[in-house]
Amino acid sequence: MTSPNLSGVELSEDGARWLETATRRIREDERALAALFPAAGRACGRGPIPSRPGWTVDQAVRAELLAALPGKGAALGETLFELYAHGDAAERLAVLKALPLLAGDGRLGDEGLPIVRDALRTNDARLVQAALGGYGADHLSDHAFRQAVLKCVFIGVPLASVSGLDRRADEELARMMADFAEERLRAGREVPPDTWPLMERHPHVLTKVHALRSAKASPPPGDGLDGRA
């Protein structure tokens, strides 16, 4: 049976053979991962997976390699962090995207959080976006989650891609967004359109913003705003 990590992935004969050998070697000795993990793209390809938007073949293959790791809990978290820390951007991205899959079977708990926190400190929009997948949404503290969402707005990560935002957006996040909107309006700059719905859930945070907008005779939120993120 095909592993769910590989759903939608069609490997060449050579690629499939490589992956089979690689997972076997990792099960025998997880240290083999250090050389196998970086080679996944070269061995199996890097194309997009049509049935899984945002996923590429190398990412799915790397998730499958990680699934072969025998450990769990803190030991698994340490192995993953070490791999992430020595990874290039594509490897780091793959570790981040694999976190919810690894957490799915209860082996990881919150031991993957150091990886998420590290990615959120970078300025690479791809890593920040991946850090806010299902795992980040389930495990980040309220404060860390709010800061991360605000960072997305600053570096141009679309909020639609943030997992669990609907569930976790609270009044404090709305307040932070409204302060941000005020700053932008005072500077004569645009407010990214995808931030308004977060504020409109708690309309009282918008008092100052509305005052600024009417002073400038701008159209109300959601009406006539240009589409620039």
Binding site: R42, A89, N123, D124, A125, I155
Partner: protein, 283 residues
């Protein structure tokens, strides 16, 4: 004019440079690991530097339409600091990465026994990881240093077509041409090599196995020198195809020996979305 700069230290350059390079025709670069102005004192700072060459720098370059690869090594100057010897233990892990298209810069600085040892060890790593090698030639005592470099390369058993010997000049070009190694020329504002001298060398030695780079870094240097050489070639009667051979085909042929050179146009999309590098750029 399509340009591949086979040797440039973008870590030390600004986004203005990336913009001007793209405008001049630069579409791909290789950034060799080398020394920074400030000597390092621990292997950990090398790990951070290597991570930057494989993470942040290609990401930055892609946002300006330029493909970025790198070479990884312990450079000769810092090979003399015993505190940094453990960097050699980090190398196998980095030499396994997709973005690494050669071992380099290796070679000589002061021509010490430590440099000897580190050079031959890294030539061995290149063979083990099936990667070509970028070899730096020393600024001081250049002819003797280049001769000794070629001897060590020969003894290593690496095929000469997998070795690029860089920073050549009128004095060192003939011996490298004869060795069968690739010949690199770093065109600088006023030291190593300039455009006019480069034209003379191209006329004398031909275009085969010749690479031209800016080697631009944190010192006085010019990331547009590759383009200036291309213009000088055209002005002195070389054809468009000749320029393409020197500024694109030759570097591609050399680094493609790694099997890891990916020259698809960097994809825009998410990376162009007004992130922290291109902040303030109109969408």
């Amino acid at each position: 004019m399509r340009i591949f700069d086979p040797h440039i230290h973008m870590t030390s350059r600004t986004t203005d440079d990336y913009e001007r390079m793209y405008e001049a025709g630069v579409r791909a670069v290789v950034e060799p690991a080398f020394w920074l102005g400030q000597p390092r004192t621990s292997p950990d700072t090398f790990a951070d530097y290597f991570d930057g060459l494989l993470g942040w720098e290609p990401y930055r370059a892609a946002q300006f339409g330029i493909t970025h690869h790198c070479t990884i090594a312990l450079n000769p100057k810092e090979a003399n600091d015993p505190r940094l010897r453990p960097v050699l233990d980090l190398l196998p892990r980095y030499l396994a990465k997709d973005g690494v298209v050669a071992v380099g810069e290796v070679g000589y600085d002061d021509m010490t026994p430590a440099e000897d040892e580190v050079l031959s060890l890294q030539l061995g790593l290149a063979a083990e990881h099936d990667l070509p090698v970028l070899v730096h030639t020393p600024h001081r005592d250049k002819a003797a240093g280049t001769r000794r470099t070629l001897d060590v390369v020969r003894e290593s058993g690496l095929p000469p077509e997998r070795v690029l010997v860089d920073h050549l000049n009128e004095v060192t070009v003939a011996m490298v041409a004869e060795s069968g190694c690739w010949m690199g020329f770093s065109v600088y504002p006023d030291t190593k090599m300039d455009e006019e001298r480069m034209i003379t060398i191209l006329k004398e030695h031909g275009l085969e196995r010749v690479l031209v780079n800016s080697a631009a870094d944190w010192g006085r240097s010019d990331p547009l020198k590759t383009r200036k050489v291309g213009d000088a070639m055209l002005a002195s009667g070389f054809s468009d195809a000749d320029v393409e051979t020197v500024l694109w085909d030759n570097p591609v042929a050399f680094y493609a020996q790694s099997g890891r050179l990916e020259l698809a146009e960097p994809t825009a999309g998410e990376s162009f979305a007004g992130n922290s590098v291109r902040r303030g750029v109109p969408a």
